[in-house]
Symmetry: C2
Subunit: 189 residues, 2 copies
Amino acid sequence: MVDQQPGVAVLGEQDPAAADTRILRAIRRIIRAVDLHSRKLMTGHQITTPQLVCLLAVSECEPARSSEVAKSVSLSTATVIGILDRLESKGLVRRERNTTDRRVVNLWLTPDGRRLVETAPSPLQDTLAGSIERLPTDEQFSIAAALERVVGLMEADQLDAAPLLESGPIAPSREAGTSAEPTKELSIA
Amino acid sequence: MVDQQPGVAVLGEQDPAAADTRILRAIRRIIRAVDLHSRKLMTGHQITTPQLVCLLAVSECEPARSSEVAKSVSLSTATVIGILDRLESKGLVRRERNTTDRRVVNLWLTPDGRRLVETAPSPLQDTLAGSIERLPTDEQFSIAAALERVVGLMEADQLDAAPLLESGPIAPSREAGTSAEPTKELSIA
DNA sequence: GTCAAAAGATTCGAGCACTAATCATTTGAG
DNA sequence: CTCAAATGATTAGTGCTCGAATCTTTTGAC
């Protein structure tokens, strides 16, 4: 049903080997695969990957704070709040205002939450983890190193490139509003 | 800042170097970095990465269909519809019912859309692409190969594991040793 | 003591992504 | 021809993700 041949179309680069294109494309497919995996987890176990990751984070520093959880799972606090809302409404975590500093909220596992953590369906990827474990060790490490290399590049990107990108040189011109409705909010330039 | 202990926090595995943990963690950070980059693109150029990718796909097979675009960018049609809505409201693409088969909708670039494609900020990652290009060629290829390896594992996962996952019992995968622990029932919710 | 700044949690608005359901149209079996 | 199935686009509903407000409480400078 879905695309079996995702390789051909999108990027017109005819460059035969184009490592960067391959890299970018692989990243997009990894993202998709992670998402699909999470949905499968959801239908099978009523919990998504992000929820499971946050649940585990709560269990590790048990009187946990939202901000701690966010930091430890590399997500924004806004995102984590939403996830915690859902975990709470499922009865897996409990929120409780800290009495000494009433700004902070303490997070606890409920008995159900604890039970789930104990029998948890493997940290993240389930069968992917198994597949990886079955690879030769040196390949495991080269994969890890390659991914971390990409992470490094991307996160450096975030820092260095920010000012450059801000005042982007990309503007597709668009003077003289020849087309129908020029004054959309797309006044690039 | 963030947890600089990639191994310790989220995943309980005590395996000394834990390549799989590193891999999984790196994947999550890559996903985040891609998202953050897209947001930066948005503030700088009024277009997000998914929108740009779809715009490029439209431009490649110009009387394009939604389903073609979806297939070529590896997203579901539902997702692409939403993206096309936004591209249309920005005046970058135009929709038009096909006259011979009125189920079909033809997609065209507007002049603005065409202009944006021509001056487009590199297919996906902008400065990331630059960073990658500056790496030694052999490293570029080893990164690409590693990512594709992961893609292969994950997409195989999707196919093989689906029936297994569907009906509940999960492979715990803890107990890294040999104990394949018979399926745990976790009846949450 | 007072009040501004900081810190922590949350809400708001927007975009992306999916599956499942729906609607319109075309095709094809009888 | 007729109507069910197939096809294509879309909507409905849920969840993840973010940055930018907002609200509450604490801290600290004066």
